[in-house]
Symmetry: none
Subunit: 360 residues, 2 copies
DNA sequence: TTGTATGCGTTATCAT
DNA sequence: ATGATAACGCATACAA
């Protein structure tokens, strides 16, 4: 009976011997200590890898990753807006736990930021709400920089990973909630027609509405470029029409606030006279008066996921070399019920509808 | 002539002796190394403090770190909140123009972030809304890292530069506006009693009110820890009192929104039944319904200024060595008139006042 | 030279 | 016992 046949769990002593150093040094490497040379670090890590070493159950508190000193690039389009806070917060959380510095760059239209990224030896880049061309992305990936795009505005090339949320499903949930509350005259405030995720929300909404026999005529759909003021006037116009909507679906909370204003302009109260359903779940929607019912995107989780995908890509560079298709993660959206959706007033809704179910 | 009379620049050896340890250990402490106990760290730092040690200009180490001087550390307390967006945006604008990367770090209570900063060869650190102890600041400056604090919550030590705005003056402007509109019963929603800049706002307000013969009794002043919900209930309580205020001054826009809610709870309309004046000028205040009159702080400019001060300190390291007093910049606040302040209703204000000018 | 930074092993300690 | 961690200082390398 050869006792080696069992599972002789590798120890730091073995690693140390193989790497030609001592146990404490191995410990330091594995815990991200500062007093180790890069060369020794490498030897220890490869020895550990060769022996397939696994850490014993954590005895100590935090787990600083040995890959200390690296950086991750976070590139944002618009820094304003409350989207960015939770994303940055989440990425920072993950990166700092991994001993990776977060370098924040704003993407200006001149594209200079791409060249700066190329000059930096980073773990990879996370692009948040950046309007970047396929060529730009290609430049980065060609240079060997793993890229993860959060909520891409257009479909990214195959070699670029992306993180999003279930926008279509979110739109569907919104529709079902509005229908369940009894709404049939629904106004839609879209973002930019060309935006991938915005369209998916509307598609999901429309599909579910159609399935329920609710028709949304073209004049009740407006694309407002994610702009609150434009949403306000578009909604205002719809509310001035003869058969005004009893409810609005806005593709973002900020545009939803524009609808709030339009309602105020028209002397309508929310939710008694008009229901509003937003999308995003940012703080503004919770603070609105009344608090806005919305489809929440897991914004923080999306940031954390993006970072993990980058780490993954970094660990197995094969995927890049082999040109394997980059992954796309979709996190779940969630309907958050707050105070801005209620059944339509009977006197307002019932008498005026003549357009129920003109579909098969 | 005894040459010691000049400037016997303290050395690590002296610190080591005083702290009862060796030079390498001192070096490690000053560089954020890991192999030092917390107790030793303290001893070393206090010895360094006692000797008024300043690290020599960063000697280009063995490997001329390509990042040296090319990064600026931005440390934030709470990433949430719309304060952070404009600040980051402005700093990024300046730093990227200067070819400097922005490294974003979140300050967690454990203080680990300080050690990470020590390990990084940065141009300096900008602290935004960070609750940091004097000892923590001292560690950074002793290690030769220039620090600029934006809106410090307590008075920073002499060697730390800071950027703020004219809070006192802003409070004064708020008072004068409310008085000009005819308000005499004014509720005050403060932040945290201990906060430097929050107190200045209230001081300015009170001084101007007093000068106009308006008295604010204690029960019309509440400290709500910058919290919207607490502001809501505090304002609600004041509105329920017999002589309810006709106007509120809130030390932040977010707390101002809490007052909006309290007004709504009480069935009062803004500005007809109640005036509200905020402080900060963040986006939320512009988007409130009605848009909030507020004292705007030049948030973006404060960020840009902080970066410039850092560059300055970096160019002339003499100022550090000579122990010249660090500068404090105060940028101008500005009253932004929007829709939330109007004269008090005559029927509400006139009949009930019995407390006008009980002061000399 | 002197001052500072870094790598690594020794010793002591902690957790099973 | 044994595996792992923590802290310190020696030896050394390097910069002015």
């Amino acid at each position: 009976m050869d006792s080696r046949a069992a599972a002789p769990r590798p120890t730091m002593a073995q690693i140390a011997e193989r790497a030609g150093t001592t146990v404490p040094t191995v410990s330091k490497v594995l815990n991200g200590g500062t007093d180790v040379s890069e060369a020794t670090r490498e030897r220890v890590m490869s020895a550990a890898h060769a022996l397939d070493y696994r850490r014993r159950p954590r005895t100590r508190a935090t787990e600083p990753d040995p890959r200390a000193g690296r950086i991750v690039d976070v590139v944002v389009g618009h820094i304003e807006g409350s989207w960015i806070g939770p994303v940055l917060s989440a990425i920072e959380e993950e990166s700092s736990a991994a001993g990776v510095d977060l370098v924040l760059t704003r993407a200006r239209p001149d594209g200079e930021w791409i060249r700066r990224l190329l000059r930096r030896p980073s773990l990879g880049a996370i692009l948040v709400l950046v309007d970047v061309s396929a060529a730009g992305l290609h430049t980065l990936t060609t240079a060997g920089i793993p890229v993860v795009v959060i909520d891409p505005s257009t479909r990214p090339p195959a070699e670029v990973a992306s993180v999003g949320s279930t926008n279509w499903e979110g739109g569907r949930m919104a529709a079902e909630h509005l229908i369940a509350q009894g709404h049939t005259r629904i106004g839609v405030i879209g973002g930019l027609r060309s935006h991938l995720f915005g369209s998916a929300r509307i598609d999901g909404l429309m599909t579910a509405l159609r399935a329920a026999g609710v028709v949304v005529p073209d004049e009740r759909v407006a694309f407002c470029d994610w702009d609150r003021e434009r949403a306000r006037s578009a909604a205002g116009a719809m509310l001035a029409a003869r058969d005004r909507p009893t409810a609005f679906f806005a593709c973002s909370d900020v545009m939803g606030l524009g609808v709030y204003e339009a309602a105020d302009d028209a002397g309508l109260r929310i939710p008694d006279d008009l229901s509003v359903l937003g999308f995003d779940g940012v703080q503004e929607s919770a603070w609105a008066m009344p608090p806005m019912t919305t489809v929440r995107q897991p914004i923080a989780e999306m940031g954390a996921t993006a970072f993990h995908m980058l780490e993954q890509a970094h660990r197995s560079p094969r995927s890049r070399a082999a040109g394997s298709p980059a992954s796309r993660m979709e996190l779940e959206t969630e309907l958050v019920l707050r105070g801005s959706v209620a059944p339509p007033r009977p006197e307002a809704a019932a008498p005026e509808i003549d357009l129920a179910s003109p579909t098969p």
